[in-house]
Subunit: 143 residues, 2 copies
DNA sequence: ATGGATGCAAAAGTTTTGCAAAGAA
DNA sequence: TTCTTTGCAAAACTTTTGCATCCAT
């Protein structure tokens, strides 16, 4: 990740912002949690590294990073909000009601659906992040 | 709706519960809001009819009605929770980021997707309620 | 009288905001 | 200095819970 830091600092500077240790830590935490992390989980990770960091900073930073296009957030069907790095390939989540396992599934599965909706309703679906709930194979067989 | 009241009272009585005015009003409000209503919106509707009804009652009643299988709830991508009558045909929502308009779309659009996911991942998707966000036709043309 | 349902108030969980202090530019 | 960023505390918002009371059976 270190190769990104210079770019990142430059990117923020271009917009008149700064790359602070807190911002770096939050971004690292999002990266580390790899795939999906709640604000609270990110807070825990950052807090381990620096005790003084405040929750308000986590929330502000996540909002900031989202506005900068560096992270994206999803709302899960249970209402929780998760963050992950932007720039990764568009993908979506299958979350198991029963055991909570979270599969990533590729964007292309949604192509036909999005295409049909576009044609039928002239509605442009935002597919940056979708989560579907259900029951995974293991839980179906009652393990 | 009045033809349902007897059945409803009987249904609840069979389980050892009662059909109170509050429960009737909440159910009416869910019905009236037709399609989607937040707890707060339901509270407003009920409160208009009876000033003394408390928010706690609204939440308790919605939870109760959901457990009784009479209403279902969805979590929208923005994190809000909406309630609607159960028993209506399965359908989903297209919500516009820009203007908030909410189209209902039929379940069958998702058949292929759900089928593919089932075959590929052996994952049984719960499609009782899905919401997709995006931009509607009007907002695309910048009205 | 028994047990369910309600209103009220308080609590709990999550996210936001005002403000003064600290730190880069 | 000037403007951004942070920490702290408090507020805001949504939802839940304890408890006394009320009500139907």
């Amino acid at each position: 990740m270190s190769h990104n830091e210079l770019d990142l600092a430059a990117l923020l500077h271009n917009e008149g912002y700064r790359l602070t240790p807190q911002r770096q830590m939050v971004l690292d935490a999002v990266c580390e949690a790899d795939g999906h992390a709640t604000a609270e989980q990110i807070y825990e990770l950052v807090h381990q590294k620096s005790e003084t960091v405040n929750r308000a900073t986590i929330y502000r930073t996540l909002k900031f990073l989202r506005e900068m296009g560096l992270v994206v957030s999803t709302t899960l069907p249970d209402g929780g909000v998760e963050y992950e790095l932007a720039g990764s390939k568009p993908h979506h989540h299958l979350v198991c009601h029963a055991c909570g396992i979270d599969y990533e599934i590729p964007d292309k599965l949604f192509f036909d659906l999005v295409q049909t909706i576009s044609e039928t309703y002239d509605f442009r679906v935002d597919t940056t992040h979708l989560s579907l709930y259900g029951i995974c194979a293991e839980c179906q067989s009652g393990v």
